[in-house]
């Protein structure tokens, strides 16, 4: 067993590059999903039935599709429509679009319970457009949605493991190739598990510091 971990240690460069790719992939798609979510949220709150219906369909549709299938569709299915994306782009697109649906729903929920008066005060005090959003609406929204957004980021990190099936060289892919080359499944996979856990701990540290900031204001 020690010997197995020795083999994994010998391949640490591969694992670390997998870890780095997982981190990059998750970070980029988390940011993109959040931004996309911000764009979908107002549509989700629209009073126009058609507009609202389309956004609802997207959000509910995405949430009912297993991520693995969705990744398959983007990578293997889109070329049938002439959309051919490499594995990195496919992975990023799949993770982003899929999680944007969750982010939109999270933000909609947080937005709906924000008191209206402070925003109105912002308008009355001369804030408008982007500045109103950035200085008055966004900060309390992020403080209250922060923990749930953090959970979703953990979900993104875990979902990214599925992208091994489209040969994206992320952490699970690295662990998997080490195990198939040396046949050390336990050592390879458990090492990957601990590395994922490490990533999640970083997210959780971020979430709890947002929590502390929010608590001070409650």
């Amino acid at each position: 067993m020690i010997h197995d971990f020795g083999i994994v240690w010998g391949e640490r460069a591969l694992l670390l590059s997998g870890l780095a790719n997982t981190a990059i992939l998750s970070t980029l798609s988390a940011i993109a999903a959040l931004l996309l979510g911000f764009m979908v949220t107002p549509v989700l709150m629209s009073k126009q039935p058609v507009v609202y219906g389309a956004a609802r369909l997207f959000v509910d549709g995405m949430r009912c599709v297993p991520f693995l299938l969705f990744a398959y569709i983007v990578y293997y299915g889109f070329p049938s429509f002439g959309i051919r994306l490499d594995n990195w782009t496919s992975g990023l697109v799949a993770l982003t679009v899929y999680n944007a649906a969750y982010m939109a729903e999270i933000l909609r929920g947080a937005w709906a319970v924000q008191p209206r008066e402070p925003i109105e005060a912002g308008i009355a005090f001369g804030f408008s457009e982007i500045k109103l959003f950035r200085r008055i609406i966004l900060p309390p929204l992020l403080l209250s949605a922060g923990p749930v957004i953090g959970n979703q980021m953990i979900q993104i990190i875990k979902d990214s493991a599925f992208l091994t099936i489209i040969a994206l060289p992320e952490l699970t892919h690295a662990a998997s190739s080490i195990q198939s080359r040396y046949y050390v499944p336990f050592a390879a996979f458990i090492t990957a598990v601990f590395l994922y856990w490490g990533l999640c701990l970083i997210i959780e540290a971020g979430v709890s510091s947002i929590g502390r900031i929010a608590d001070a204001r409650r």
Binding site: E117, P118, A124, F125, G126, E129
Partner: protein, 261 residues
């Protein structure tokens, strides 16, 4: 035509929500240093009137002038965009019934936010002025506290200081004490009374009759969206002209007689 010697000129403002006519043909003027108290039963359109002044609600008809400048409609005769409206709104301070402080900012930051971000005034100058305003409302020790940690009366005093930090030409109060526990109303009224004495130009929607009688230079009595009576508080409270005003005042007779607060 706008009377440019007046800070505020409201001319024939009407507003309806669906089938309900909330304001019909409301006109009044406010001179510099005046304290106007807007009185009337709930649902009479008082808050809507206030919100029409800074175009938080868009009036259906009528004109509003601030220092002789038309609010909401530009020289070309079209409705102002957000940006243009913002410029005008920075001259009108507003105090809200439920305080409406920005929860993510400290007390001092609440005061500094709009002057620095919207009016683009130098931070150091704004800060000095904000600290002076906090001293004035008796909350110097709370400058680094978040709004959630304050009592209602303290929150509203911050709300008033925040509005003053904009150096407004006109201050609007939308039932500033209605959300407060009775024992906290006094501390807010003291601040408002001081402002009236200092010659701040104010339009105050309130149910505090004793305050209106003592502090107002003029009262405006609204009923079902119309100005039913207007005049000096002495005359309005001791000898109202209309039956509606008499009935309204009867309900507050106890308050006024006891000179509560």
């Amino acid at each position: 035509m706008a009377d440019s010697t007046k800070v505020l000129d409201v001319a024939g403002v009407s507003k309806r929500f669906g089938d309900a006519e909330v304001l019909s043909d409301v006109s009044f003027q406010v001179g510099k240093g005046e304290t106007i108290c807007v009185l009337g039963p709930s649902g009479s359109g008082k808050s809507t009137l206030l919100r029409c002044i800074n175009w938080l609600e868009r009036p259906d008809a009528g004109q509003i002038y601030l220092n002789g400048e038309r609010v909401g409609i530009n020289n070309a005769g079209i409705v102002m965009g957000d940006r243009e409206l913002s410029g005008i709104r920075t001259h009108i301070g507003m105090v809200f019934q439920h305080f409406a402080l920005w929860p993510h900012l400290t007390v001092l930051q609440n005061l500094m936010e709009a002057p620095v971000q919207v009016q683009k005034r130098p931070k150091a100058e704004v800060r000095d002025e904000a600290l002076a305003l906090l001293a004035k409302v008796g909350l110097s020790d709370k400058r680094d506290a978040f709004p959630a940690k304050l009592s209602g009366g303290q929150k509203q005093r911050v709300g008033i200081a925040r509005a003053l930090a904009m150096r407004p030409d006109l201050l609007l109060f939308d039932e500033p004490t209605s959300a407060l526990d009775p024992e906290l109303v006094g501390e807010v009224l003291v601040v408002m009374r001081d402002l009236a004495r200092e010659g701040m130009t104010m339009v105050i929607v309130t149910h505090e009759m004793a305050f209106a009688r003592d502090a107002a230079t003029r009262v405006l009595f609204l009923d079902r969206g119309r100005v039913v009576e207007t005049g000096s508080p002495d005359k309005f409270f001791s000898n109202p002209e209309t039956e509606r005003a008499r009935q309204f005042l009867q309900r507050y007779a106890g308050d006024i007689a006891n000179n509560k607060r």
